[in-house]
């Protein structure tokens, strides 16, 4: 299957610290790609590079055949995204906030109502966002990504700050999206247990390096080959990270 997002040797250095290290990932069209890694692994940094928020130190990537920074506007037109914390105009209502995004994207009025409904904010659409709870802001951020049904979604920990019922609801929503309309989703998380329920493929990142990329089945096989128990996937992910950390330490000692 053809990749809609592919990176080659993507690297981001902050001074001497390497946040993302020669990352090469492939995200297939029409799939959900779970981007997994512990805190500070470089997930957000990678996503920011894909969106043109930060410049890669080296390496390159293509999104739907287009390149940054030449085709920046074209790329951004195709991507709905949500990075780290929600962003909003506190002086506007939820509905007005989405209307700003709607007019920039040249969408129809009804797209705002549709997406408010989708994320469960219809009831609170006319409340000022500065009066929103954290979870409501998170939903609004998600709505800002989903509005107008963009062909690509880049979602950085979209369930952060939601209550258990909210996590469940949003997870199901995301899982349903590719069936609702034709789209590709890249979603980051700390928890394999969360990702395994929705993702077709996963990429595991640790200290900026890709430890694994492939389907869930392949992950299980790889784990078995490495002598890691596969009855608990979360444990498998953690031990993969631990093994990598251990090897890094060994290298550092030598």
């Amino acid at each position: 299957m053809e990749s809609i997002i592919s990176t080659r040797g993507l690297t981001k250095k902050y001074n001497s610290f390497t946040s993302v290290n020669k990352l090469s990932i492939n995200i297939k069209r029409g799939t959900i790609y779970g981007f997994l890694g512990p805190n500070g692994a470089g997930k957000s940094t990678t996503m920011k590079m894909l969106l043109g928020l930060t410049k890669p130190t080296s390496g390159k990537f293509r999104i739907d055949g287009k390149k940054m920074p030449e085709d920046r506007i074209e790329i951004l037109r195709e991507i709905g995204s949500f990075i780290e914390s929600p962003s909003y105009y506190p002086n506007l209502t939820g509905r007005e906030n989405l209307d700003i995004i709607r007019s920039i994207l040249g969408l129809k009025k009804k797209d705002v109502e549709e997406v408010l409904e989708l994320v469960g904010l219809s009831e609170f659409g006319d409340r000022l966002v500065k009066k929103y709870s954290l979870g409501m802001k998170q939903r609004l951020g998600l709505a800002g990504a989903l509005i107008g049904k963009p062909p690509i979604l880049i979602l950085d920990e979209p369930t952060n700050g939601l209550d258990p019922a909210g996590i469940h609801e949003i997870r199901n929503l995301i899982k349903r999206l590719p069936k609702m309309y034709d789209c590709t989703i890249m979603i980051s998380s700390h928890l394999l247990s969360e990702i395994e329920l929705i993702a077709d493929d996963i990429g595991i990142l640790n200290h900026g390096r890709l430890l694994f990329e492939g389907s869930m089945e392949e992950l299980k096989r790889t784990a078995k080959a490495q002598g890691i128990k596969d009855d608990n996937l979360e444990e498998m992910f953690l031990s993969m990270v631990n093994v990598d950390n251990y090897e890094r330490m060994q290298r550092a000692v030598l």
């Binding site: 951004l76 990075i83 929600p86 962003s87 105009y89 002086n91 506007l92 700003i100 007019s103």
Partner: protein
Amino acid sequence: MIGLELKKEKRTGVTLVLFITGILGALYVLLNYSIRGDSLLAMPMKPMDILLTQLYGMIMVLNVFALIVATSLVYSMEYSGAAIKKMYILPISMCKVYMSKFLIIISMFLVSVVIQNTALLWIGKTELSKGEFEIVTLIAYTVYTFLTSLPVLSFMLMIALIFENMWVVLGVGVAGFLSGLALATSKTELLLIHPFIVMFKPATAMTSNVNVNTIIIALIETIAFLILGLVISQNKRID
């Protein structure tokens, strides 16, 4: 683009601040004249010079602070909820956003200046004797004070873009005002680089004569800060 910016500015009071400044300035003119009009006109100067220069000082102070507040508001709303972060990942040029903010503030400021000077026009028409009131002088002075205010507008918008903390922006504004005030009467031409001093210029003169050099400097500074602001808005990165 401007429509979009106006939508964003809802409830921030950006346009309101400038509009109210116009009204307050006009009220100040009317009140001041009704209280000390006679003693003002008794000064050994041309009546038109008295009318324009003696009242402008206070109006200018009002305008300086209105510009400081308005410029800091148009960017604080972008930063306070990190809305600008979302703007960066939407297909929109940050240059155009900056330009729209500039145009909105400059238009509202023009409205405010017109309101203030309408009050002067009214006094001139009703209080000065026929031969003394010169409409051309009033219009020229209005244009002059408007143009000499633009460097502060342009400079402060750039500052508001650069500093994400609104208090820093207000601090720079106040520092600019105070340092400008301290240096306003200095004869050194080089000091006209200071945008606030350009704005103070008409207020420190004893006549309502238009100084063409000051206008040229004002225009150059306005455009220079505008270009600088546009370049910064294009290259600024939010992490």
